[in-house]
Every structure is written in structure tokens, then in C-alpha cells.
């Protein structure tokens, strides 16, 4: 039972009847009875009815009141005096507030626990779900990145495999016959292809060893170098495939980015088949290059 003697002033209670009256003040929480007919409360398991001589606003289900309780025989009658709400609590001093809260918690513990558990469970579930979603998103992003890297690696490997020139060591000798010598007119072509293959493999190896240049570097100056018999490099070559056209007099190359272009670009270097046969290679050299408004793309002088 809460000590409500200090509330006498606010309630207009006669001090002379304070002791008997104070013992009859209770904090009651009202609820619907089992018959679902009356709004009642209880003290120590004994039901408490709202006094028929109470003419104020009847307590609603769930309301908490400070009541003057009188007993008549086996029945308790309560006269609601003050509704306990936030505004009212703010006006109380801390000691009374603490005692009231303790009393309320003790008498309604089970219900409060259920309510708090439900609310906590909901917020805990939401926090857990959010965390799981974030983790899932992160994992998905990592996997996607990994897949892209593997696909790029596969593409490079496939390119190497397609250009692989069969060697003598690949063949399985099934008989004791000596292998036929390579025809003399085939040797230069095979050698040329092997050179090209080696050149391209070196390029792949170098590009895999170094981080690829990013496209976020911004527009690059127009500049091109011939770095190999069939290789042309420029900082402007930032895409994966290009359209490359040569002039019939073999003086000019026009380079334009094209998603479906026939020329592959790896680490800003174009690999052009047969460039050496059309324009002999005399070692690494810088090439004159400029943007062409007439043709579009980059025009390179060989």
C-alpha cells in the first residue's frame, strides 16, 4: 500500500480523519469482470466495485485511480478520487512517485511483463532482421564481384586457348614411325603465329600482374605508341573492344570504341592481327595520333 498521507492537501482531506482515511486509500487498476458486465478492481484477490454514490466519470478499463475504499461486509466499494496519469505523476515528488510505481509494478507485474516483452521482442526482431539483410546484401555483393573477376579470367584463358598453336609435344606417338618433318613453306607461318602467341601471352601476364587502369582516370590525352609488332597502346583505350580500320595505303588507322568490335583491348593495348605484315615493326615507337572530327574516333599515323 502506498503512503499517500502527503496528498491530503491536494485531495482536500480532513486531517482529523487522516489516519483512518489514509489507510483506506488504494491505488486501483480497473478491469472488466469475468461476466463482462462491470468494471471492477481487486485488493488481495477480493473484488472491489465502484461505489454507487460515486457520480464522477466512471473508470474505464485499464484506468488507474487513487480510490477511497470502504468495506461493507465481504464487499469493497471504491470511490475514485484521482486518476493516475502522466500529468498527475509529474506533479508528485520523487518519493511518492517511487512508491506508486513500486505498488503498480507489484500489483500488475504479469501484465506489464507481457506488454514489455512483446514490445522488446518486436524491436529486437526488427533490429535482427535489419542486420541480417545488411549482411545478406554484403555477401551478395562480394559474390557478384567474385563472379565478375572469374568471368574475366575465363575470358582471358579462353582467348589464350583459342590462339594456342599445337606443338609437337602435344601429340601422342602411337607407333615407332618417325614424325614427318614440317614442310618448309609451313615453317614461317607457324613461327609467326608462335611469335604472336608469345607476344599476347606476355601482355596477358603483365596485365594480370598489375592492377588494371581504371576508367575513372578521366579523359586521357591523345597519344599512341606501337609497343609490339601487332600491339598499339594508348591511355585513351579504356574500353574492352574497338573497331579498327586501316586505310588501303596502310598509312592510317582509325580506332573507335565499339562493344561488338572485332579488336580486343587489354590494359589499354590493342592486339591487331597481321599489323606487322601490313606495317613493318622497327621497335617501340611513338605514333602521331589525333581525334578526327571527320571520321570520329582516333586517327593514328603509322
Amino acid at each position: 500500500m502506498a503512503d499517500l498521507i502527503d496528498m491530503q492537501r491536494d485531495l482536500g482531506i480532513d486531517p482529523r480523519s487522516l489516519s483512518s482515511l489514509a489507510s483506506k486509500l488504494h491505488i486501483l487498476r480497473f478491469y472488466l469482470d469475468k461476466k463482462k458486465e462491470n468494471v471492477v478492481s481487486s485488493i488481495d484477490g477480493v473484488i472491489v466495485f465502484v461505489s454507487p454514490r460515486y457520480y464522477g466519470d466512471p473508470p474505464a478499463i485499464g484506468d488507474v485511480y487513487i480510490c477511497n475504499v470502504q468495506s461493507k461486509g465481504t464487499v469493497y466499494w471504491a470511490e475514485p478520487l484521482v486518476k493516475v496519469n502522466t500529468a498527475m505523476l509529474i506533479g508528485l515528488d520523487d518519493r511518492i512517485k517511487d512508491e506508486m510505481f513500486d505498488y503498480l509494478w507489484q500489483t500488475n507485474r504479469k501484465e506489464f511483463e507481457t506488454i514489455f516483452e512483446e514490445r522488446y521482442r518486436k524491436s529486437a526482431m526488427e533490429a535482427a532482421n535489419k542486420q541480417l539483410e545488411e549482411q545478406y546484401r554484403q555477401n551478395t555483393e562480394d559474390l557478384r564481384r567474385k563472379i565478375e573477376e572469374l568471368e574475366a579470367e575465363l575470358k582471358r584463358s579462353r582467348l589464350l586457348l583459342q590462339n594456342r598453336v599445337p606443338r609437337e609435344s602435344d601429340e601422342i606417338e602411337l607407333s615407332s614411325e618417325e614424325p614427318e618433318p614440317v614442310q618448309s613453306d609451313e615453317r614461317p607461318q607457324t613461327h609467326q603465329l608462335e611469335m604472336q602467341m608469345q607476344e599476347f601471352q606476355d601482355l596477358i601476364r603483365r596485365s594480370l600482374a598489375q592492377p588494371l587502369a581504371t576508367k575513372a582516370a578521366g579523359p586521357a590525352p591523345v597519344h599512341a605508341d606501337r609497343t609490339g609488332p601487332n600491339l598499339i597502346r594508348s591511355e585513351s583505350f579504356t574500353e574492352d573492344r574497338y573497331d579498327v580500320h586501316m586505310s588501303p595505303n596502310r598509312k592510317y588507322l582509325l580506332v573507335e570504341p565499339d562493344e561488338q568490335g572485332e579488336v580486343v583491348c587489354v590494359n589499354r593495348t590493342l592486339f591487331l592481327g597481321n599489323l606487322e605484315s601490313l606495317s613493318p615493326y622497327n621497335g617501340p615507337m611513338e605514333l602521331l595520333a589525333r581525334r578526327s572530327d571527320k571520321y570520329g574516333g582516333m586517327l593514328i599515323e603509322l
Binding site: L159, S247, P248, R250, L253, E262, F271, L272, N274, K294
Partner: protein, 192 residues
């Protein structure tokens, strides 16, 4: 520097004598492919292209196993997909040991003249250096049309160059497509 100004509203028709052009790039450019689409775009520039024709012959099947007619037809289908109108005459005959086209030049001349008289274009671009086209060029010019000629210097007849209002040499134009050695093969895109 020419007398003529290019306007974006000028209607242009292109007439390509395929064999003449092909002979200009047949040797010395192995591993590249003549890109007629790019050639046409460069010659037309910003002007309004209203039609592009390719005139070619289809060889008869010989005893050799090279499937020339099929390859030719496949190439014609390929350039049709690019938007060209292909007029192919089945009229390649053998004279003195080599194949010679018949009817193709006259087909080109007739087509060009007909379109000129029907006012279907303002400018005709003839991609050929063959002197046989000179009379047709002059008749089209008489109809009030401009005629431009484009050819390779090794396939150009000077009379044809003189007859044209504007002449372009194809030697400097980047029209030979190159590729990385990934899918080189005998598919229909390679000229025969």
C-alpha cells in the same frame, strides 16, 4: 577545294561497282576486310543518304571446289542486312582464261540515270574508276545533278576523274576493317 558546298539536306545516292572496288584492295591487304558500310558513311558525311546500291555479278559454278556462287550470294546477303540494295547479275563469263562480268556496268548506269530523271537524289556518288561510266555521269549531270566519283588510284581512269564534279581517292580512307586473331575463319563476311 571544290566548287560545291555540302548541305545536310542534300539527298545522296551511292552506286558501288563492287568488282572495281574489290580489285583495288584484293592484294597486299591480307587479314583485313573491305568495310563498305564505313566507306559509304565516310563518303556521304552529314548529308542525307536516300539509297545505296551495290552492283555485282554472280559467277557460275565451275569444276573447282571453291563454291564461288554460294560465297558470293552469302556476301550479298550480308551487305543487304547492312542496308545496301544489291543488284546481282548472273552473268560472269570466262574470257581468255579469266572471269569477266557482263551487264553489271550497264545496270549501274541505268539505275543511276533513272533515279536522276525521277529526281530521287541531288548528288550521286559513283564508287568506281571505270571509264565506261563517263557517258552516264555526263547524262546525270545534264539532269541537274551533281556526280561525285570515288575510287582507288590504281583502278582510276583519268577520264572518269575528269568527268566527275568531285573526286575522292579511297587510298587514304580508313575502310579496311582489322580484327584480333580470335575468330578468323572462312565465314561469309570475307570478300571472295
Amino acid at each position: 577545294m571544290t566548287l560545291f558546298a555540302d548541305h545536310t539536306y542534300s539527298r545522296v545516292m551511292v552506286f558501288i561497282d563492287y568488282r572495281n572496288v574489290y580489285e583495288g584492295v584484293r592484294f597486299g591487304l591480307e587479314g583485313t576486310e573491305l568495310d563498305l558500310s564505313r566507306l559509304t558513311r565516310i563518303l556521304v558525311g552529314d548529308r542525307d543518304l536516300v539509297g545505296a546500291y551495290i552492283f555485282d555479278g554472280i559467277p557460275k559454278q565451275t569444276d573447282s571446289d571453291d563454291h564461288m556462287p554460294e560465297k558470293t550470294r552469302a556476301y550479298h546477303n550480308f551487305v543487304r542486312e547492312q542496308g545496301f540494295r544489291v543488284i546481282a547479275r548472273e552473268s560472269v563469263v570466262k574470257q581468255e582464261g579469266k572471269f569477266v562480268q557482263k551487264e553489271v556496268d550497264v545496270s549501274l548506269a541505268c539505275e543511276m540515270l533513272e533515279h536522276a530523271l525521277m529526281n530521287h537524289f541531288d548528288v550521286a556518288i559513283v564508287v568506281s574508276g571505270d571509264r565506261d561510266f563517263v557517258p552516264a555521269i555526263q547524262k546525270v549531270q545534264s539532269a541537274g545533278k551533281r556526280v561525285e566519283v570515288a575510287s582507288f588510284s590504281n583502278e582510276l581512269n583519268q577520264e572518269c576523274k575528269r568527268a566527275a564534279d568531285v573526286y575522292y581517292t579511297l587510298d587514304d580512307l580508313p575502310i579496311m576493317a582489322m580484327r584480333s586473331p580470335v575468330d578468323q575463319g572462312g565465314d561469309a563476311r570475307w570478300p571472295i
